[in-house]
Amino acid sequence: MHEQQAQHAKTQELLFELRVADVMRPQVICVRPDQTMTELRNLLREHRISGTPVLDGDEVVGMITIADLIAFLVSGESEARIADKMTRNPQMLFSDQLLVHVIRQFDETRFGRFPVIDPQTHKLVGILTKGLIIEGMLRAMERELKEEEIRQYRASHIFEDLVAEYKEIYLTYELIGRDFDRAGKASTQMKRNLKRLGIRPDIVHRLAVASYEAEMNAVIYADSGVMEFRIAPEEIFMRVRDRGPGIEDVARAMEPGYSSAPDWVREMGFGAGMGIPNIRKCADKMHIQSTPGIGTTVSVRIFTGREGEGA
């Protein structure tokens, strides 16, 4: 449902972004009013088109279509000039019009095609059909999707594409203590990386939460730290090592609600005593090794091969 809405909004957005010139077919085949209907028939057949503007010099004086040709053939006349069978003074579009306005014109007039003229010179520059609008929009959508898609495709196939007995990806982030503008950045970047790698969304969520809590702990309490991620086909391993004060009582720190955080940490929205319990909840395996005065290492394993029951 969400996705459909987003897709719909995307289509609408394109209608507001694209102009006639972006999707029209330039270099229009055209005819003169003094040409014959037989000439028109050959032209339509040769170019496999169903209609064309009629030009007198530089000026668009009419539109002639396959419907006009059929009417002429049915009438039994032996020959006629295009000038006598065309629709005179056709409605035209300007090349700088937005598609959203143009679509209304298609609906209201029920014409299948419109000549497109330059807004300044009023000279014919192209032709627009509904089919060309759809083609143009598909091209535009493809362009927008392509970049992220290529990234995702490349990344998600990396394990298949590379041949080795053991395949692992290591990613490392440096953490700077008390840098609260950047705090959490590594985890959000990591979340994006995992998505690109094609990791299952529930696993991405669990790793992102565990990583963010661990990152915040390191940034809040330590002078510096390192986050390492090892991504293998069957599991993701995360290790956050910091040079901080260490945890006096690791067992108590695991209890939900237990916190030794000072007020300034709470003011930042952390220190509710849920950090380490959150990490444990998200992890399949967790290990904390801490030495007061030296630092803390939090290790987390999440198995990617099977459905986890964590957050």
Partner: protein
């Protein structure tokens, strides 16, 4: 209801997010100033109502996959927070209402926590 209607109900000012973003639907809400409590939830709400005006509120939303953050009590929102919301494609708005009142209004509109015994009605 749409996020635009959420903003109207709360008389909120939208700081990040365009018309297209505001057309998205919202059915569930979570509230709190403690980011770990938000992260501890297994359910991911559409909207987070909070008094926390640091970039961490946005980071938390991004990590948890929450699309909208509403700041209460009309607190001044620092520019880096607005910038990050735009970067992470998160809708950010601020209302003068207090946390309790903002939540009450949204409850009246039919918004609910995502999990829990009571099913959220179709808004």
């Amino acid at each position: 209801m749409t996020l635009k209607e959420v903003a109207e109900q709360l008389s909120a000012r939208v700081l990040a997010g365009g018309d297209e973003d505001l057309a998205a639907a919202a059915t569930s809400v979570a509230a709190g100033d403690m980011m770990s409590d938000v992260l501890a939830r297994a359910d991911i709400p559409d909207v987070l109502v909070t008094g926390l005006t640091t970039v961490q509120a946005i980071r938390t939303a991004s990590v948890a996959g929450i699309k909208t953050v509403v700041i209460v009590r009309g607190k001044p929102v620092p520019q880096p927070m607005i910038d990050l919301a735009r970067e992470e494609s998160i809708v950010l708005m601020v209302t003068a209402m207090k946390l309790f009142e903002a939540c009450g209004r949204l409850w009246d509109c039919g918004l609910r926590p995502r999990a829990g015994k009571g099913k959220a009605p179709e808004a």
